[in-house]
């Protein structure tokens, strides 16, 4: 009988470029270590797994998305965002140092079988629909799913 795999559960609340980058590297690294990985994306984290740049239905929802657009290549770093300049600079520096771009890290994670699940409640609050999110991810879930996974995990991380 095959032994049960070790698990890593991650709660991703941040939508900052640098934090998402770290999270994706740890997630794929864990798969290399033969672990089963679940990434639970909530609140700002949802921005990282949007395929649509702009979301929202109400005035506030649309405004929120204008100020904080989605898509992994549109995320700003947690420091020195400077209205997009920081993002541009980091992308240039990452390229210079042969670091895999973020959209490729995310695709790698999906291809390697990382289980990506969005939080239903945050989707409701931020007016993000399932169709606004990228393909290859799981159905929206609640906190129970995360806690159930986390309670069986050897490693849990909050980003």
């Amino acid at each position: 009988m095959e032994e049960e795999k070790e698990k890593l559960s991650m709660a991703i609340l941040s939508g900052d470029m640098d934090k998402i980058m770290g999270a994706l590297i740890m997630a794929t690294g864990a798969v290399a270590f033969d672990m089963e990985v679940t990434m639970f994306f909530t609140f700002w984290g949802l921005r990282a797994i949007q395929k649509k740049k702009h979301t929202g239905e109400s005035f506030f929802g649309k405004m929120l998305s204008l100020l904080n657009p989605g898509g992994i290549d549109n995320l700003d770093p947690s420091k020195y965002a400077f209205g997009g300049l920081g993002r541009w600079m980091f992308k240039k520096m990452m390229k210079k140092h042969n670091v895999t771009p973020l959209h490729e890290l995310l695709q790698n994670a999906i291809d390697m079988g990382v289980n990506i699940v969005p939080c239903q409640m945050s989707m409701d609050v931020m007016e993000i629909k399932k169709e606004d999110l990228i393909d290859g991810i799981g159905e929206p879930v609640g906190v129970g799913t995360f806690i159930a996974e986390a309670s069986e995990s050897q490693v849990t991380l909050f980003v």
Binding site: I25, T100, M112
Partner: protein, 84 residues
Amino acid sequence: MTEEELKNLKADKVIDARGTSCPGPLLAAKKSIAAVPVGGVLEVLSSDPGTNRDIPLWAKKMKYEHLGILEEPGYWRIFVKKTK
């Protein structure tokens, strides 16, 4: 293994991950070891110095055997035996 033994070792698969940073070489190793038969050897070419610490730890965790590292100009050759 000694340096001399490593130099004479013929790997069953060589994966060139030079020019990629963390986690590139580790993911490349994970991906390509699937094609190595049990008892065979995987050789990872990496220009990322951090990988020299990462892959031995990975090999230990996966219960593979880390055979050693050869330094070449500008890169390293890391040898892992797929023991199971």
